[in-house]
């Protein structure tokens, strides 16, 4: 089963929920859990789960292409510039010039070139690594090259990698910690998952983000439940959040200093402070999920 944790807005507690869900699943339902950090522009899950004790995979990921023009063959017909949907090729007097910041690496230019002057070179867009962690969870992390795009393809690859690791070890649960927002990497994170947990704060901004996320989940046909985090920051708004979301709410987690302290110590909250209010509330949310799905 693949469970994805996402929210339309940043900083609502995705990594907090995902890391502790891993700990919970391992304690109660599964010998092992494979986690995926799909926030490839700011990956934090490995740190939240205590850091790497042993790296088991490290690979480069070539997720895109860069066109290269052989100027000895090119006769400046301008066809490549004409067909580029991204306005990434301009005709200069000396021939076509590629603006790599606009290029999506999809290769229409290379295919239409009548003299085959354009070749596509594989472009490294990130690294993939998998690590074992102190609390027995294997974390697959993607690290997008700074300033690069195509993060959705890296996320697909991470999920595929996690699936393979989980199949080999016969691990039932995979937990995906998504990037903030609803764009390319988030669509890839959600697509094909069995359950989406959206983490919402009782603020208008977070509610708006989650409603946008629910629209995406609906187009992809993914079942969604919610956890309302830091609910005591704005308790008066919680009922409205619940009503507007219109999905099952697993529970409410209070703001708790212990959460920040647990991060500072790089230990998941359920291990760091099991008696804290946030821990107890989170366990209640997960119990409800477990009862709903596994009874």
């Amino acid at each position: 089963m693949e469970i994805v944790v996402a929210s339309g807005k940043g900083g609502t507690g995705k990594t907090f929920v995902a890391s502790n869900l891993c700990v919970y699943l391992k304690r109660n339902l599964s010998e092992e859990v494979v986690a995926v950090d799909a926030d490839v522009e700011a990956p934090d899950l490995l740190m939240a789960l205590g850091g790497s004790t042993r790296e088991v995979v490290r690979e480069e990921f070539y997720g895109s292409y860069i066109p290269a023009i052989d100027m000895s063959i090119c006769f400046n017909c301008g066809r490549c510039a004409e067909v580029c949907e991204f306005d990434a090729i301009h005709m200069a007097p000396e021939g076509p010039v590629i603006d790599y910041s606009k290029c999506e690496g999809l290769g229409t230019c290379a295919v239409v070139c009548s003299v085959k002057a354009i070749t596509l070179i594989e472009d490294k867009t990130g690294d993939i690594y998998a690590s074992e962690t102190p609390f027995g969870i294997t974390v697959v992390t993607g690290d997008l090259e700074l300033g690069k795009g195509n993060s959705g393809r890296l996320v697909y690859e991470l999920k595929e990698r996690a699936y393979r690791i989980a199949s080999e070890k016969r691990v039932e649960f995979r937990v995906v910690d998504a990037a903030p927002g609803i764009g390319c990497p988030v669509v890839s994170s959600i697509a094909g998952s069995d359950l989406l947990i959206t983490v919402v704060e009782p603020t208008p901004q977070s509610l708006k983000g989650s409603l946008r996320l629910l629209e995406v989940a609906e187009t992809l046909g993914i079942k969604t439940v919610a956890i309302i985090n830091k609910y005591n920051l704005n308790p008066g708004f919680t009922a409205e959040v619940e009503k507007k979301l219109g999905v099952e709410v697993l529970g409410y987690v209070p703001y708790d200093d212990a959460v920040v302290k647990a991060y500072t110590s790089a230990v998941p909250l359920l291990e760091y402070s099991p008696a804290s209010k946030a821990s107890e509330a989170l366990v209640k949310c997960f119990d409800r999920f477990r009862e709903g799905w596994f009874r």
């Binding site: 522009e41 700011a42 295919v111 700074l146 927002g181 920040v260």
Partner: protein
Amino acid sequence: MTVLTVTGGKGGTGKTVVAVNLALALSSLTGERVLLVDLDADNPCTYTLLNVEPKTVEEVKSFKPVIDKDACVRCGTCVKHCPTHALFLIPNAGLSFIETLCEGCAMCMYVCPKEAISRGHRLTGWVKEADAGDLHLVLGELRPGDRKYHDVMEAALNYAKRIWGNYRIVVIDTPPGTGKGILMALNSSDIIVAVTEPTSLGLLDLKRLNRLVTPLGKPEIVVVNKYGLPGGAHNKLERYLQECGLRWAKVRYDKRLMSAYIRGKPVIRYDPDAPSALDIQALAEMLAKEMSLNRS
């Protein structure tokens, strides 16, 4: 004209809060109307904080294939060439298209030997605009379900660039991250304001962001938001800032800021004596000074 970009690798550190309040403070200080550009197309929140309803000024569109089923001979050429596997042949049903996988390169249209594919458009998002009194707001908004957020960011930035000659101060608010969209915004900026929080995750993401920002050689100020957060990793963060020789300013952890935020109001106008509002005011004064130095 000076462009300030408010960014920060991690989500939820307070980029939008800092950007909106800073823009308002700069407007009050200078008497100028400030252009605020919200590039967080996934979830633009500036307008909820400013309590305005932006109007669409541009639709962002990308290519999508329109298949002429009668002309299509099911040869599979487009399927073979589609770089994102958005087209496929189903036996007895013909050519099918999955829009969420399509990145709009138009390859299929050019390779089809029967000219059975023509140009259609799909709506990716909108560029919107609002008059927010002392601020003029331009924002990009992604259509939920579409994934091409960089296109929407670029369209919003280009729209802003067409009008920003009329302003002396431009503030850009970015989404979280360190990818292509962030780099695009940074490349258009004169001063970079990196917002972080005193947590281990905030520090980790700030370090990563700085690997992108530092090589650009542009002036950078780190804003440590939620300064004083109980249990926070202040020592580690301050040590890092000192080691890197980074200029930084603090915005104190402040329940009054949260109280303004949940009402959808900028603290600097709603509760100007709140500790966080005073800190943002001080930051604005420092930046205003720096900008006038830049002008001379």
